[in-house]
């Protein structure tokens, strides 16, 4: 049964299903999204769906992609809360790639920020229609009814009607003009500690990930990629591979030169993944490596340092920096660097694609089904909407699975062979064929007056930009990518921001926290170096830096940043740090990114070259929290990822190709490295903001500051303890 009496465009929209019951969607006014700068104003309607069956079973669809960040629990719980659904009666389902769910590209820590309000409205709308249905049955006024835990209750006589009984009647009720949302005090699920909806399946091995898709007639593929960006196949001898039992095809995949297309490679198709992987090793391939064949990250990093230690291209300027520098009481400069990073989710890139004459169906771990539709549509010369994308649970993603080169490759193989193809990359291919976090260098020079006020700040950054994916001709990061430097909350009247040359020689991509990783590191560490120079402690020095910001538009943000930094300091015992044993120290850092504020206090013990992280106090202000336990878990995970990149992970290129291959030479954090992480989340009535990424940024600077406090040794290069590969 469907609701068909809706004519108001751009507000509420409904859709019918074959079975009885209430199905409801909610649309976001596009101009509201455009106003928030989230999407272009294209006039499209956006929907999210609730389905209540006649027996009361309720399905809530999550349109955003799940990769472990908990969004498929958080957003549906907001719907359930507003509709007074009993969470035990709710099943969460992942929506396929479909614009009716609104923007599904899951990145930028934006899911809750974008979808919280519309999902609440979807729930509230359903509740209003269920109440209206009950009122009709009882011939009373809706005001005389209320909803509670999957029932509507008659205030006069306490009669109850279940949501299942009401669903098909509710489907014919008018859709409320403006559904009333609950007050915070009445929330049952929002802001509480709700377990993940799918963890029962996880612990028994029944949760299906992209890598687990099985279809009748499925064939298995493995691939080896061209090791250098821009290279191409020169010669291929596939005879030995084809001789292997179980091998059916060897497929050449030329580079598809669009942002998320294949880098180019050779795939083997077999009757199982292992045989395909073994056969790949039997291929005799010569590559023409092309113009990036001399890429060497050790040399490149040195070049970046040179490029930021000399005048570069102006990105923004305010005040009079030369005057400030001329009148300085103290001057200080430092250069910070960082290497490429590989996302290395535990589930390597994997998908199943079946291209047939009249259809193309995809099952993939992905962060962006729409990009799969776009890329495959372009490759197959079909309409994006004709590419059916089933969004699978991703076994980690961290930005990697936003880019669908691996899905494109499976589509090529399926088209060539006519079979449904499961392509699983080996760990080695995953490590060597990434979209890497930018290698980077930043040089800061600052002046201070006699009171330790920062009077001038020159900030030069050089890193190959993500924008090079879309415009490979870029030779340096565009000024607009340096906005987070220009608009940093530290109060500096005279500032100049410059962009150093940094041509890309590999594919650069979003990695959890993106540029906040190195901006946070440079700002947070340099502030500590300045404080030391000025003879002040980090906390009072940074507070003074914030207080010197007179920009009216940033006062609310500064208040929040100072607040969480104070909490981090307080929880860590910052005031009593002088009492710590010799060789121990506490470092602080605070960073604003993805519209959220995160402060960390890292407590370390340093013995010679050994850095032992003991405790981390992590404080986040991300506005209203949807799932307190989920938010806590995100912060714990962010500390671990921050710690990996601060201490040990780095992707090295030599001869244009990645040298690292697996977890032995890309040493991510293991359990024995785990510090005691304490997460503190102050209650907030502000709108919800980013959560998945912002926690990563402040760890590395807080660690650098802690090690300095403990030992006097200053680390300015990420990672601090690179493995020689």
């Amino acid at each position: 049964m469907s609701i068909s009496n809706i004519s108001r465009r751009n507000f509420l929209k409904t859709a019918g299903v074959a079975t009885g019951g209430l199905v409801i969607g909610v649309a976001l006014p596009m101009n509201a999204l455009a106003a928030k700068g989230i999407m272009k104003d294209s006039g499209e309607e956006l929907n999210a769906f609730i389905q209540i069956d006649d027996n009361g079973d309720t399905i809530i669809y999550c349109g955003r992609c799940e990769m472990g960040q908990g969004i498929s629990t958080a957003l549906p719980s907001a719907v359930a809360d507003e509709m007074e659904a009993d969470w035990a009666r709710v099943t969460v389902k992942q929506g396929d790639g479909d614009e009716k769910y609104g923007p599904q590209a899951t990145g930028g820590s934006a899911s809750i920020r974008v979808m919280f309000q519309p999902m609440r409205e979807a729930g509230a709308t359903a509740k209003a229609m269920l109440i209206a249905a009950a009122a009709k049955v009882w011939k009373t006024s809706p005001d005389n009814c209320f909803a509670e835990s999957h029932f509507v209750i008659n205030k006069t006589n306490n009669q109850k009607l279940g949501y299942g009984e009401l669903a098909s009647i509710a489907a014919n009720m008018p859709v409320p003009e403006k559904p009333t949302l609950k007050n915070k005090a009445d929330f049952k699920y929002i802001g509480k500690e709700l377990p993940r909806h799918d963890q029962d399946e996880v612990v028994v091995g029944k949760r299906i990930y992209g890598v687990d898709t099985k279809l009748p007639g499925l064939k298995y593929a493995a691939i080896v990629h061209c090791p250098v960006l821009g290279g191409a196949l020169k010669s291929l001898d596939k005879a030995d591979a084809l001789k292997m039992k179980g091998v059916s095809d060897v497929i050449e995949i030329p580079r598809f030169n669009i942002p998320f297309g294949s880098i180019g490679g050779v795939a083997v198709v077999a009757n199982n993944s292992w045989t395909a992987q073994q056969a790949v090793k039997q291929l005799k391939i010569e590559w023409d490596l092309g113009e990036n064949a001399s890429y060497d990250t050790k040399e490149y990093k040195q070049q970046l340092v040179k490029n930021v230690e000399k005048p570069a291209t102006l990105a923004s300027e305010r005040g009079d920096l030369n005057k400030a520098f001329g009148e300085a009481k103290h001057k200080m400069s430092a250069t910070y660097t960082g290497g490429h990073l590989s996302h290395a989710p535990m589930e390597p890139n994997a998908s199943v694609v079946w291209v047939q004459k009249d259809s193309c169906e995809v099952w993939a771990s992905t962060q962006s089904p729409a990009d799969i539709q776009k890329v495959l549509g372009q490759y197959l010369k079909r309409e994006p909407k004709d590419i059916v994308v089933h969004v699978a649970m991703a076994g980690g993603a961290f930005g990697r699975k936003f880019k669908c080169d691996y899905v494109h490759e499976a589509a090529v193989i399926s088209q060539e062979t006519g079979a449904p193809i499961q392509l699983i990359w080996t760990r080695e291919e995953d490590m060597r064929t990434g979209y890497y976090h930018s290698i980077n260098a930043q040089h800061i020079e600052a002046s201070m007056d006699e009171n330790g006020n920062v009077t001038g700040w020159l900030h030069r950054a050089a890193f190959p930009s993500i924008s090079t994916l879309f415009d490979p001709s870029l030779v340096r990061t565009p000024a607009n990518s340096l906005g987070d430097v220009t608009n940093h909350l530290f109060g500096v009247e005279n500032m100049r921001v410059e962009s150093g040359d940094a041509k890309a020689h590999t594919r650069i991509g979003w990695y959890r926290a993106v540029y906040a990783i190195f901006y946070g590191f440079a700002f947070g560490t340099f502030a500590d170096e300045l404080a030391y120079k000025a003879g002040k402690d980090h906390l009072s020095f940074v507070n003074q830096l914030f207080d010197n910001n007179k920009n009216k538009d940033q006062q609310a943000q500064i208040k929040r940043a100072k607040n969480i930094l104070a909490i981090a300091a307080d929880k860590s015992g910052w005031d009593k740090r002088q009492n710590l044993p010799k060789g121990q120290g506490i470092g602080l850092a605070v960073h604003y990114s993805f519209q959220s504020f995160v402060a960390m206090a890292v407590h370390v013990e340093v013995k010679g070259d050994e850095i032992n992280v003991l405790n981390v106090d992590c404080v986040i202000d991300c506005g209203q929290v949807l799932n307190l336990d989920g938010a806590t878990a995100q912060m714990e995970g962010a500390v671990v990822m921050g710690m990996s990149l601060a201490l040990s992970t780095e992707v090295t290129f030599r001869g244009g190709a990645v040298v690292n291959s697996n977890f032995h030479d890309y040493p991510v954090m293991r359990i024995s490295d785990m510090p005691n992480v304490r997460v503190h989340i102050p209650d907030s009535d502000e709108s919800p903001t980013g959560l998945g990424e912002p926690g990563v940024a402040p760890f590395a600077p807080a660690l650098s500051n802690a090690v300095f406090a403990a030992s006097g040794k200053r680390y300015r290069d990420l990672p601090f303890k690179p493995l020689s590969v």
């Binding site: 500690e193 963890q199 996880v202 099985k214 535990m346 980690g396 760990r427 995100q634 293991r670 024995s672």
Partner: protein, 155 residues
Amino acid sequence: MKQSIIINGKDHVIDVDGNMPLLWFLRDHLEFTGTKFGCGSGLCGACTVHVDGQAIRSCVIPVSSLVGKKITTIEGLSENGDHPLQKAWLNNNVPQCGYCQAGQIMNAASLLAVNASPSEEEIDTAMQGNICRCGTYQRIKKAIVEAADTLSKEV
């Protein structure tokens, strides 16, 4: 007579190339997908199963070397998903993406089978080979301690 192995109490004939690692025999041949592929080199622990009760990395063990052995995978760890570790995992909301957790649980089960009340250091040592990229280590430790506690009360 064809050789076979016992997986979660059932006999399975080895009718694949004997060099195939157990992982792919499970995943592609029997379609038991609970055991995960992470690295293919025994470096990450995502593929951990039990051979006669002992945790091994199924990605590097040829299936032919396991003739007649008893294999337990995550699907067979307990009758109803109620192993104390599975309950403790739920109680502590351990999983984020969850991909590594089958391997983590299987490895922890093997630890508790030989050491009913491991110290924090012993947990670290035993679980060192299991990577979680989401960073759930703190909760994994807590859950293992909790499960050990439950087990000690059962005896």
